[in-house]
Assembly symmetry: C2
Homo-oligomer: 149 residues x 2
């Protein structure tokens, strides 16, 4: 048994591991990291104030195309909880992006094993599809993006 | 300073406190609690397996009208994190409900103080509005529902 505190430390460490991996994978494909983190602000609400410590949102650009990349490790205690959290963050990011920078498209970065085990399942497919959320699937070992959806 | 463990215990206890309060507030208005918890199942995915311990979703009925009520305490370490989680859960519940029971409308139950401090702000209003998510605002002391939106 792993304590909640140990799991939490493990999850935090894993988030820090995936962050440079996704950066590197994007750079290999010719993207430039323009914002790390990408701050999202709506009116009086400064999302990044609360999110900075927990989440990684990158601003990335290539040939004039701008995207935002939300990095999720999915290494929490419950995959469903991580999924709810990822979808809620994605929803709120999309809502804010549409207001302040409608041309920047959001991608959720997901490690390959989580994609295969979870995102190919019916619930995830319907949920992601309905939200019109784009996925960027990466292989953490090879530091490569393997699927853009 | 409150440790993360203490906060977690406090939050869990608060969830247990709000659960009977929302039930009682609904019953005062003539609703019948038909499912506690309401299990949501899609294909091979059994949401309730993972959610049972963390979340309260009620199935409620009055004069033939069926609703599902998601109870959130918003007593976590970060209001924004709680909000992301609530919106992600709501999204996934809505997606599943539309598949299996399209006539049952989802409501997110929110305590009055959180509604006034947070849900009247611009980010929350846009996010909730875009999702077409209904709110049920309750006063935890009087055990009464004060706003249906």
């Amino acid at each position: 048994m792993v304590s909640e505190e140990e799991s939490s430390i493990k999850a935090m460490a894993a988030k820090d591991i995936f962050h440079p991996i996704v950066r590197s994978a994007l750079e290999k494909e010719g993207w430039t990291i323009t914002h790390d983190p990408l701050y999202l602000k709506v009116d009086e609400d400064k999302l990044y104030v609360d999110l900075g410590a927990q989440n990684h949102l990158l601003g990335v650009e290539r040939y004039g195309q701008k995207i935002a990349v939300e990095i999720k490790s999915f290494l929490g205690l419950s995959l469903i909880s991580d999924f709810h959290e990822a979808m809620g963050q994605a929803w709120n990011y999309k809502v804010v992006l549409e207001e302040i920078e409608p041309n920047r498209v959001l991608y959720l970065a997901v490690p390959e094993d989580v994609y295969e085990d979870f995102f190919t399942r019916r619930l995830a497919k319907i949920s992601v599809g309905r939200m019109q959320l784009n996925l960027l699937v990466f292989n953490p070992i090879r530091e490569e993006i393997i699927i853009w959806t």
